[in-house]
């Protein structure tokens, strides 16, 4: 199983994402015309399955990547944090399954499902932020001349300003409906703050990836950045502009469609990084074969 996961390529991830997106659209159509609304939205079941698979794959790869960094403390910590984030996300997705309604009727609408969704998400995001911070610090303290520019600090300040404005002007959060369990609402607020912090750190990672001048390492970082930016944007859109659309108004097709695809971006980041070593090995093997062939031709 682990061997199969380590052979995944970005192309395979792209095909799987498209496949799940198609399944999600079909499920949504079935949900609209056939499925009983009391059983929970059917397309969310697909969303849960692909979340579990995507983050499960990412978790395995992140642990493998962390094991490669035996001589780099901060990057090992970074990938371990991302692995734990993936693991917590798997649990969170599993507990967010509306199909649990079939076993425990009313679960999906209860505060417990809210707690099972928001609390692990806050924990996962904490690990994501820790992982990104460790990654950024790891690259900056290497002594290779990676450094931030003034405009990066300005952009980080901008993100923080947006966060403060959003918290000030935000409408009621979806967790506000569960007044009996204030922890859910607190977790949801924490999630939004953590997303903003992650977006701010992604500015640092973006600058580093630019200074790298391409390569698979930069590709992995950019995939992670796109993942965070997309998720943060969805969260902030839901808070400011369309607070009622998430989970309540199922007509919001585009937003949910983007949301269901985002876990694969995180997996893609792990795949890009994991492939670095295997690609390099293939490169060296091909080179040695060429060298040996050239020697044989030279003798004959």
């Amino acid at each position: 199983m682990i061997n199969a996961i380590t052979r995944l390529t970005p192309r395979v991830i792209a095909y799987v994402t498209i496949g799940f997106a198609a399944c999600w659209v079909i499920c949504r159509l079935i949900s609209d015309f056939v499925w009983h609304p009391n059983w929970g939205p059917l397309e969310v079941a697909i969303f849960v399955i692909e979340g579990v698979i995507a983050y499960g794959i990412a978790m395995v790869l992140c642990f493998q990547i962390a094991a490669e960094y035996r001589h780099s403390y901060w990057l090992r910590v970074a990938w371990l944090c991302l692995a734990v984030k993936s693991g917590v996300a798997v649990v969170r997705y599993a507990l967010d399954d509306p199909m649990i309604n079939l076993i425990r009727p009313g679960y999906y609408e209860s505060p417990w499902s809210g707690l099972a969704r928001e609390l692990p998400m806050a924990v996962a995001l904490s690990f994501l932020v820790a992982g990104m911070l460790a990654m950024a610090y790891g690259f900056l303290q290497m002594g290779l001349g990676f450094k931030l520019e003034r405009r990066d600090w300005a952009a980080i300040a901008g993100v923080i300003a947006v966060l403060i404005a959003v918290i000030y002007f935000r409408q009621d959060l979806s967790a506000a409906r569960w007044k009996s369990m204030p922890l859910v609402l607190q977790a949801q607020i924490a999630i939004q703050i953590l997303f903003a912090v992650a977006a701010a750190i992604s500015i640092i990672l973006y600058r580093l990836s630019l200074q790298m001048g391409g390569g698979q390492l930069a590709l992995a970082m950019r995939s992670l950045i796109v993942y965070i930016v997309l998720r943060s944007m969805l969260v902030f859109v839901s808070m400011i502009l369309l607070p009622s659309l998430f989970r309540v108004d199922r007509e919001n097709f585009v937003t949910m469609f983007v949301y269901q695809a985002t876990p694969w971006l995180f997996t893609l980041a792990a795949v890009y990084r994991f492939q670095l070593a295997s690609n390099a090995t293939r490169h060296v093997a091909a080179w040695r074969v060429r060298e040996l062939s050239a020697k044989r031709v030279g003798i004959s």
Partner: protein, 167 residues
């Protein structure tokens, strides 16, 4: 009697390289001069003996087609062994180009430039281009360590391998 002929004349005469007019003049002298005639007869006799001895020596090592081919093959083999024993020293610039070509798809051109420079500085050299041959192993050790921190241990091992192959 005129003994005016130098050793150059003698050599040209014996090899048949003297112009016709000089040759006729010299033969007339050799017929008339007993001393020079005797010298000519001795030289020709020694030359004949040497040619006979050479012929006998050549015939004592008869080489058929198979033995000739074997001899050629063994000669080529010994040459290739000698080539393998002597390190094929590639220029420093070529080695750095090879390393760049290998590392750029992994961690980007910007990172490679920084890593090469840092590895050179850790080897007490201002830039990788100024690296002397003798410091190449130390430079590669430093570069491999930097790669390990950047891209992990497997990539570091491969960079060390590429450095070895490139040199």
């Amino acid at each position: 009697m005129n003994h005016k002929y130098s050793w150059h004349h003698w050599v040209d005469y014996l090899e048949g390289a003297l112009p016709e007019e000089q040759r006729a003049e010299m033969e007339e002298h050799l017929r008339a001069c007993e001393e020079c005639g005797h010298l000519r007869n001795n030289v020709i006799a020694v030359e004949n003996k040497l040619q006979l001895a050479g012929k006998r020596l050549r015939n004592s090592f008869p080489l058929n087609q198979d033995r000739t081919r074997q001899a050629v093959e063994s000669c080529i083999e010994s040459i290739s062994k000698t080539d393998a024993a002597v390190p094929n020293s590639t220029s420093m610039l070529d080695r750095l180009t090879t390393l760049r070509a290998f590392m750029t798809p992994l961690c980007g051109s910007g990172t490679v430039t920084r890593a090469l420079r840092a590895a050179a500085q850790r080897t007490a050299v201002p830039s990788p281009e100024a690296l002397p041959e003798v410091l190449w192993p130390d430079f590669m050790e430093n570069l491999s360590a930097i790669t390990g921190v950047l891209c992990g241990d497997p990539a570091a091992v491969l960079v060390a391998e590429v450095g070895r192959l490139a040199s």
